[in-house]
Assembly symmetry: C2
Homo-oligomer: 278 residues x 2
Amino acid sequence: MKKIAILGVGLLGGSLAMALKKKKDIQLVGWSRRKSARQKASYVLKMVSRLEDAVDSAQIIVICTHSSHVVKILPMIANAADPDALILDVSSVKSEIIREASVYPWAPFHFVPCHPMAGKEKSGVEQADEKLYQGKVVFIAPLKSSPRKLIQKSVLFWKSVGGMPVIISAGQHDQFVALTSHLPHLLAALLTNIYGTYKKKNPLIETAIGSGFRDFTRIAAGNPSMWNDIFQMNRKEIKFFLGQYRKSFLKFEKELTKTKSSYWKPFFEKSKKIREQI
Amino acid sequence: MKKIAILGVGLLGGSLAMALKKKKDIQLVGWSRRKSARQKASYVLKMVSRLEDAVDSAQIIVICTHSSHVVKILPMIANAADPDALILDVSSVKSEIIREASVYPWAPFHFVPCHPMAGKEKSGVEQADEKLYQGKVVFIAPLKSSPRKLIQKSVLFWKSVGGMPVIISAGQHDQFVALTSHLPHLLAALLTNIYGTYKKKNPLIETAIGSGFRDFTRIAAGNPSMWNDIFQMNRKEIKFFLGQYRKSFLKFEKELTKTKSSYWKPFFEKSKKIREQI
């Protein structure tokens, strides 16, 4: 009987619990900081109110809290978990978490930072889906001195819920997601806020919303605390791509001062070609 | 027997033909400039190679070409169509088309500029769908001196294919879609092009693409000629919102030079709230 503890049972933790609870020989225990969150999650798995009780003798602990809480929880786990415990997280930022975790000499032998490329713009355990991880890339960004065996254990864990593990350096991971996830979130939020201000004076603009606008802005409905953590902890990489975006943006804006421009069409041709390969 | 001519049979024209051809007492004829386009469309409706033959004695003519061709086609229609003909278009830009059309004194008595908020990022008649207009807003931006009866005819036409007509001024229309459609297209294309350049050096970034990036960039695959026309013809309104976006963008970028900022979280909270109301 293997004990698996899930800390922070929202969309990601809840989906994990759903995928795991059908397996044999697994004892599943969940913990969330807030009572309301525990109550909501209790239809999925057994929830306990003390973190220590959740992790007590657990062989696998998956931290599914927001990025800024991951490393704060680590020492509490270390004191109560199984001596051979594997600790994973699922947060969108890896370098900063590794930097913070490095103060614990035991970290490389237990903690393997992970990031499944799975999610929805809606958070909360009520959004959980047992198939959330199926076919999804799960980035694994190990600490430098982690033993190969520990990393292998985390690979097997994610495969067991249908994920596709990809081992990557934390720096590369953070740069990738800054471009494919964090920057788009900001760009969508900027447009959504401009739309909101405009709509106050021109409510009829609602009629001009098509599927394009809907899809483009969907990510802007993401959890603000989670995104605040991400922007704080992956600030450096986001700033880099923000700078690149600014340059392209200002270049296009300048071209738009001309009544005709041979710049526009090749620009749109390029993006069409790239997008069609995705 | 009513004759309806569709000029330019791609996604929008083809979908219209599919929705109309099941109706009784309608003779449907299509025309496309290019032979290959006519051949592709011939499985949907009867296609002819001469525009004059398509519009000859037609009571309703729907121009489904790109924005820059709409008014060029108008005089050819006027010479051959029924003396009471109703002429519609479906393009994304209205003020410039009205300005161009105003050189024809007969325009207000025949031509009613329209824009259905229906489309896909993929173009061509092979994407056509008889339900494309069902439940979709169709903007109608009449010329100033158009008789009420003519406008009413265009309202009934769009209702007959399931659309929801909304009468609007051309100026308001162009401002609305600049914000909800044209600016998002540019923002998505900018990000897509940066991604494309980055990917050349870092092909592994493909693994970091989730549904958020996919949805955000989907519109960037739109037809480049169509978008070139739109940016040229609705340049003024796009520039206005581009300026607003630039200000918000630079403000956020400045806030991101701080290691912590009380600006980020309320910003994300605002966008979440607005997006959830859409």
